[in-house]
Subunit: 376 residues, 2 copies
């Protein structure tokens, strides 16, 4: 389908195709990033590009810990932080460190499709459970599914592909359930929270952290979205300070960062993000894009949840076959992704992290498809 | 032992401890690197930090291909190149792409110890074979060991830990042997050449490339040593243009770069190395350090091969127990690594990629240990 998209751009001119298929923000990194980069390049510290400890620079880890402490009110230190090659690297390191062959890792549809690859890379078995109509994981189903082989549950909020932010109440109940089940089986069950979009939330929402609700927890995240640096592969792992066997776990993470061949997060980016922990791209711009597209799609008759974060919408497909509908949109020069790619057929994903012209340009295609399929 | 080293530095002052234990060059990247970095930072192209194709920027891959073509006389195109997160990332991607569960990968002692981890990451079985007295792999042993489960042979020249550069004649014979065995078993056997130190060779040596001698071959390498960027994790995979099923292999490599969570080689570094393919650090400086240390060690009575490249020496331990001898050196404030860490007990590794003062400072400790153990 990507190739068909490229062909469309070739044929019609890229400016006439609205590509809403990729979570690759057009936003540039914030001014603070450029300022720090300039400062660093003009006065490079000796050895700036050398190996450091596999966990990353102590100064960067301390800066991450300080920021997390400020945000959450929980006291993190640099010993709770391992710098990683993006959230993808971070998640692979965590899974390698905690999984034994055949351990189950639970994920919830719709999910970021690479999760299944990452789990299988390390001998794990992905178990996909359902979410409710609001795209929030079904805890009643989770309760039945958590068995003696469960080693971890992965959540992702704000969510890719839905943009939904899980509420505090959900997190609290999830923590309680995991604690009960861990006690029942006499086995640690990890909660892994993929927070790549944590800073991209709207409407004055307060982000519901997992930290207060479950101790056996690990966050994986990156600066791909909040600083618009997806190509630079810079992120981190944060371990709950009260996690059982925290020291052994962190030592395992550092070891796995090395043996998986990541070795360390890129040095120059570590130097930079040290100073940028409280900085983000302009979130209000994303919110405007969400509001604009949500309003128009709802007016056209699409059934779509207004999500609290990330930069995706996940409307219901007007026809049952989401692949067929995505092809219909494609014929109208709008590129999106079928929901079945995220484990949820019958929906499609729109990535609105594009410039406003592209967004405006997509309306006509969405509108014509809506009319064709008798929406509104 | 590393912790003991850190403790020694604490107690005696770091300037009084000669740390020759790490392949982490003190050399700064060449002036050309800083010039390009400045140029890039002053005129950043739009979208410089965004995701690109998982294979890397076409322009960077084309620059790598052009350089390889110039060096080798074989015509590479960008379709033969995949940018990777260092040679470690590159090797993991290759192994993931070619290994089935239980496939054997042959390595030769002494070897870079992470090879075993990398092979096991992807379900492979590492088979360690012996080298001769000159630290060149024994082809007679390889001939007997290559069985129906063999999927790949990994070589590393210039070698870590010995510094030895394998000769053209050896590569030719190795290619011939692999071709015969592959035909015998009706099965592709890959030659994977880890060339992280390719540019760091001395005495006007001409590097013996594998390309002319075996088609089913893949090179993994990085700019960690030749541009002194080990912390930045920038390297690449090059596939022989005449490799059997080359397109499928390259597609597999790109896929594995993604699913292993590397996603892509760091964007900014890709932008830079595009312009630096013919640039290296000052190799003559390393040669001087090799000459200096080799001469002194030989004079003291150490049995040591004068290697043609990299920045390591691998002398025989004056006592059988290399760990005990490394401890003796440590007591004399010289830090090295026991040979058994590289699969070859009875030797120890010296990394001379340090400043001249550190190198000079180490002589006294080496000399006193030599006298203690009746060398010379």
């Amino acid at each position: 389908m990507f190739e068909e998209g490229a062909e469309l751009k070739e044929r019609h001119g890229p400016e006439n195709v609205s590509d809403l298929s990729l979570g690759n923000p057009v936003t540039e990194p914030p001014a603070e990033f450029h300022r720090e980069l300039k400062r660093l390049v003009e006065n490079p510290p000796a050895g700036m590009h050398r190996y450091m400890a596999n966990a990353g620079y102590a100064e960067t880890r301390a800066a991450v810990a300080a920021q997390l402490s400020r945000e959450t009110g929980i006291r993190f230190t640099l010993d709770d932080i391992v710098m990683a090659c993006g959230a993808a690297g971070a998640l692979n390191v965590v899974l390698k460190a905690i999984l034994n062959q055949g351990d189950e890792v639970i994920i919830f549809a719709p999910y970021f499709p690479e999760y299944v690859n990452y789990i299988e890379n390390h001998g794990g078995v992905a178990r996909v459970l359902a979410s409710d109509e609001q795209f929030v994981p079904r805890l009643d189903i989770l309760e039945g599914a958590l068995g003696v082989k469960a080693r971890a549950v992965v959540i992702n909020s704000p969510n890719n592909p839905t943009g939904v932010v899980y509420g505090e109440d959900f997190i609290r109940k999830l923590g309680g359930l995991l604690r009960r089940k861990a006690a029942q089986f006499g086995r640690q069950i990890f909660l892994i929270s993929d927070e790549a979009y944590r800073r991209i939330i709207y409407d004055g929402l307060k982000y519901p952290y997992i930290w207060s609700h479950y101790e056996q927890s690990v966050v994986v995240t990156s600066h791909s979205k909040d600083l618009a640096l997806p190509g630079e592969r810079i992120g981190y792992i944060a371990v709950h300070p009260d996690c059982h066997q925290r020291e052994e776990l962190v030592a395992g993470l550092i070891h796995c960062n090395r043996v998986l061949g990541y070795v360390n997060a890129p040095a120059l980016m570590q130097h930079l993000v040290r100073w940028l922990q409280s900085v983000t791209v302009a979130i209000a711009d994303y919110q405007k894009k969400r509001d604009f597209l949500y309003r128009h799609l709802a007016e056209m008759g699409y059934s779509v949840i207004k999500p609290g974060g990330a930069f995706y919408l996940f409307p219901r497909s007007p026809i049952e076959d989401d692949v067929a509908f995505v092809r219909e949109l494609q014929r109208r020069l709008v590129l999106t992704v079928p929901g079945r790619g995220f484990g949820t057929p019958g929906y499609f994903r729109i990535a609105y992290c594009v410039d406003d012209r592209t967004l405006e340009g997509s309306l006509d295609g969405f509108r014509r498809a809506a009319r064709e399929f008798n929406l509104g």
